[in-house]
């Protein structure tokens, strides 16, 4: 039985346990003189029986599915010829990949006849594993249901027990956030460590040359490649800086105007329109940057006699990215400017200051921590943005300070290194994870600093 149909059967058994549990509680109620002599409502008895049926079955099914491959593989390893047992890392993985391909019929001929023995053993074990899984899971579910059903007594505290179960489920759901973070850290850290075994850390962080494309696999001569990430960092920072140069002034002034000057009617029109700007998928911005903005910029600068403008310039990507994060900056600034108390403004007006003087000399200083943290968050977003740069910034890892040149960024390289089928343990693919680690670390730091700035420097006025 496949896992999905087994799962459906499991659900059916759980529903049946609910119905029987509920029925049993009603029958019991009759003997003691009615429902009101039960501890809980009949539904809770049914739910409790269902929980008894569901939890062990689902747990067993999940554990079995996760560990079955590992256990089966390790139990057939001894069938491999001696020479394969000494293999490590990628070579061993290749052997196993071939065996699994044989087993699934993707390959028809093995490079070593000994593999057929392993494949047969695998097939046998998998068949019995599937059989065992079906029987054991169903048996456990039914047993659990029966056990839950037998537990039903008028004085059983079914509601409290079921609520405990629910609470654990709720807790587990909120733990997923932590699991995600752990998952991210582990997936990038482990692969990065493997990468740093191949390429020394200082070479990666301080190297000036980035050309990973040649390093396809170890056998190709002269395939060392170059993994100096400085050009990527410079490219990323340049594009992010251009984006912030666009977004921060425009976003801030928009927020100031909307909060301090605009009538509520203007606000009610402009704000949703800005939100539209924020809701447009990044791939659309990328398309616009690559097909409209970049050629326009190129012809614009060539009109001034500037030669050698790349058709994939950092400027085009940065400008469009800047427009993209305007609403982000403006809505954060909007919040902090709004939070500056009325009394500060009134005091400033009372001393004869104009509105703009009030904004510049009273509101900005008061809102500064919030604004700084908003800018940091915007920077983190600009650094992590992928699609615009993938489509508009190009792949050439130039170490340049000229925004009209093509540059590449960390995210572009992660995307291009990992798209398509690749051998998963070449330095080339692992480099993507090392870059991912850098990206995760930097954006995390920016967030933490942004939060810390607000916490440390915010002034309480009320």
């Amino acid at each position: 039985m496949t896992t999905s149909s087994l799962f459906l059967l499991l659900i059916a058994i759980v529903v049946v346990s609910f119905i029987f549990g509920r029925k049993r509680s009603l029958e019991m109620a009759q003997s003691v003189g009615g429902i009101r002599y039960l501890h809980s409502l009949p539904n809770y008895y049914g739910l409790m029986a269902a929980a008894w049926a569901a939890i062990p079955g689902v747990l067993l099914l999940a554990l079995w599915s996760v560990f079955q491959d590992v256990i089966i593989q390790s139990s057939v390893t001894h069938l491999l010829p001696e020479s394969y047992l000494t293999l490590t890392g990628s070579d061993l993985e290749l052997v196993w990949a071939e065996i699994y391909n044989l087993q699934n019929g993707i390959l028809t001929e093995a490079s070593d006849p000994a593999f057929y023995v392993v494949v047969d053993a695998l097939n046998n074990l998998m068949a019995s594993s599937r059989m065992g899984k079906t029987i054991l899971v169903i048996a456990l579910t039914v047993l659990g249901g029966v056990w839950g059903w037998r537990l039903i007594k008028p004085e059983q505290r079914a509601r409290n027990q079921f609520e405990k179960v629910l609470e654990v489920l709720l807790l587990a759901s909120s733990m997923i956030a932590i699991l995600t973070t752990v998952g991210i850290v582990f997936s990038v850290v482990f692969e990065s460590i493997r990468f740093f075994h191949k390429v020394p850390f200082h070479e990666f962080v301080f190297g000036l040359k980035w050309s990973p494309q040649i390093a396809i696999n170890a056998e190709v001569a002269g395939s060392s490649g170059a993994f100096g990430a400085i050009p990527l960092f410079v490219g990323t920072l340049m594009i992010a800086a251009i984006a912030l140069l666009v977004a921060v002034p425009i976003g801030l002034m928009t927020a100031v105007y909307l909060v301090e000057y605009a009538s509520s009617k203007v606000r009610s029109i402009v704000k949703p329109l800005l939100e539209v700007l924020a809701g447009i998928p990044t791939v659309v911005y990328g398309f616009f940057a690559a097909l409209t903005m970049a050629p326009q910029l190129k012809s614009f600068f060539e009109g001034f006699g500037v030669d050698g403008v790349s058709s994939e310039s950092a400027l085009a990507a940065g400008l469009v990215m800047g427009i993209m994060i305007i609403p982000f900056v403006s809505s954060l600034a909007d919040d902090v400017i709004n939070a500056v108390p009325r009394s500060l403004r009134d005091g400033s007006y009372g001393l004869g200051a104009t509105k703009s003087e009030t904004v510049k000399q009273v509101i900005f200083p008061a809102a500064l921590p919030g604004i700084v943290s908003g800018v940091l968050l915007a920077a983190s977003r600009a650094i992590g943005e992928t699609m615009i740069v993938v489509m508009a910034a190009g792949l050439a890892a130039n170490l340049t300070a000229n925004p009209l040149d093509a540059v590449t960024t960390v995210t572009v390289q992660i995307a291009t290194l990992l798209v398509g089928d690749q051998e998963f343990d070449s330095a080339k693919t692992l480099a993507a994870f090392a870059l991912g680690l850098m990206l995760f670390f930097v954006t995390l730091m920016l967030n933490v600093i942004a939060l810390a700035v607000v916490k440390r420097f915010r002034e309480q006025y009320d």
């Binding site: 489920l169 995600t180 973070t181 991210i184 997936s187 000057y261 954006t443």
Partner: protein, 437 residues
């Protein structure tokens, strides 16, 4: 006090007034300027929005229209080389293209030489033959008869019909020849060429031929991906929000969870793609390019959004309702499940729809898990290889044919249409169920 000193004071006062007046005009000018900066910033933002949408709509509308040519098709068994339509082996060798080329030859008889014949045959789409095949296989009785059919034209012909080709350019500079232009004019005169609504765009999967490429595969892929995302992220997000808002004790552990959720909301989306690649594909061996994996990754990505908005929806339920429920003897769980949750549901749904809209527009993490492969088939389930709308946009934007630029814009319009509907729905829900207690 002497007159002279009076004068001095008056003079002083006068100059001070003058100075102040001057200063004041300067300050007012500054004020005006400052305000103008504000208006300019808003205008820049709005102008860009208009420019962006304008370019896309201007370029994209033509993708909803296609060109067809009327041809008289003679289903001649000799031309196809098939005598028995049920014989699989014979069908493998059938020459469906021949039907079209003979029909074209009949329509334009005075064409000679290899080059000219090739140009003539290039009038119609290179995939039109499969339509003929499907039609004949569906109606075997047509064999040996003649009928008039509208055949999809090649994308270059389509471009001519849409006025995108400059006829004044020298022949060698354009991709369409003078002979072909003459043929098009001839067809136009006899009314055998027409523009019509492009149904292929909505009913076909991806294709390398622009006139045959559609977004159906991507739309279905997006649908399955979002379905998986919704089924996982909504219950988990709501459950997490309930726990954090109603049950969590205030201690270090729950604080860690909260910090975690806020941090996850700011992690770049491509990092989630790395997680998906390393954990779901390499560790759990889930299929590459499948909507299931895409859905799982997007679930992790949208969870923070849903949790944060669900929490604020729960917070908005007034304590009096909780107290009333507790006062009538409900347990805490009953209070939450029977009273708080239904009242907070509209707010949670709004947050979920916004999260789904985010997931629909997301591209980068899906590139990592292999949803960028060229897939011509429409997926039949969440385990089939598929692509999604934004990735389709990305794929098409890379292709050199001019027709694909319009296709890309067209796909973007469809994507933006879905996003607009989702966001309007969220706004409507918020307006409709917004309660002030």
């Amino acid at each position: 006090m002497t007159d002279q000193s009076m004068n001095a004071i008056e003079r002083l006062a006068e100059t001070k007034n003058e100075r102040m007046a001057k200063n004041l005009t300067k300050r007012y000018a500054k004020e005006k300027r400052f305000q103008a900066y504000g208006i300019a910033s808003i205008c820049i933002g709005m102008a860009f929005l208009a420019l962006l949408l304008g370019t896309i709509f201007y370029g994209g509308t033509s993708s909803f229209i296609t060109t067809e040519i009327k041809l008289t098709i003679n289903y001649d068994a000799d031309v196809i080389g098939v005598t028995d339509l049920t014989d699989e082996e014979e069908l493998a060798w059938a020459d469906w293209r021949g039907l079209l080329t003979t029909s074209l030859a009949e329509r334009f008889p005075d064409v000679s030489g290899r080059q000219q014949v090739r140009q003539r045959n290039a009038l119609i789409s290179s995939i039109a033959e499969y339509e003929i095949r499907d039609r004949l296989l569906a109606h075997p009785e047509l064999l040996g008869t003649t009928e008039e059919l509208w055949i999809v034209a090649d994308d270059e012909i389509d471009a001519v019909m849409k006025g995108q080709v400059d006829r004044t350019v020298a022949e060698s500079e354009r991709r369409i020849t003078d002979l072909q232009l003459a043929m098009i004019d001839d067809l136009k005169e006899s009314g055998d060429i027409k523009k019509k609504f492009n149904t292929i765009f909505f009913t076909a999967g991806d294709s390398r031929e622009p006139e045959q490429a559609g977004i159906r595969g991507a739309m279905i892929g997006s649908f399955y991906t979002l379905l998986v995302t919704l089924m996982l992220s909504f219950p988990i997000g709501v459950a997490a929000a309930i726990y954090l808002e109603e049950f969590a004790p205030k201690n270090r552990f729950t604080e860690i969870i909260e910090v975690n959720i806020n941090n996850l909301a700011a992690v770049p989306s491509i990092v989630f793609g790395l997680l998906g690649l390393a954990v779901f594909i390499n560790l759990f061996h889930l299929p590459r390019s499948a909507p299931v994996v895409g859905g799982l990754v997007l679930t992790l990505m949208t969870l923070p959004t849903i949790i944060i908005s669900s929490r604020s929806a729960i917070k908005a339920v007034p304590p009096s309702i909780r107290e009333a429920a507790l006062g009538l003897g409900a347990s805490k769980m009953q209070m939450v499940m029977h009273h708080v949750l239904p009242l907070a549901m509209p707010g949670m749904l709004t947050g979920t729809i916004i999260g789904m809209a985010q997931a629909l527009g997301e591209t980068a993490p899906l590139l990592m898990i292999g949803m960028v492969a060229f897939i011509a088939d429409v997926p039949n389930g969440a385990l089939d290889p598929a692509t999604v709308l934004p990735v389709q946009v990305y794929l098409w934007s890379d292709l050199p044919e001019r027709a694909f630029v319009a296709k890309t814009s067209g796909a973007i319009m469809v994507l933006l249409g879905f996003l607009a509907v989702m966001n309007l729905l969220a706004v409507y829900l918020r307006k409709k169920f917004e309660k002030t207690w």
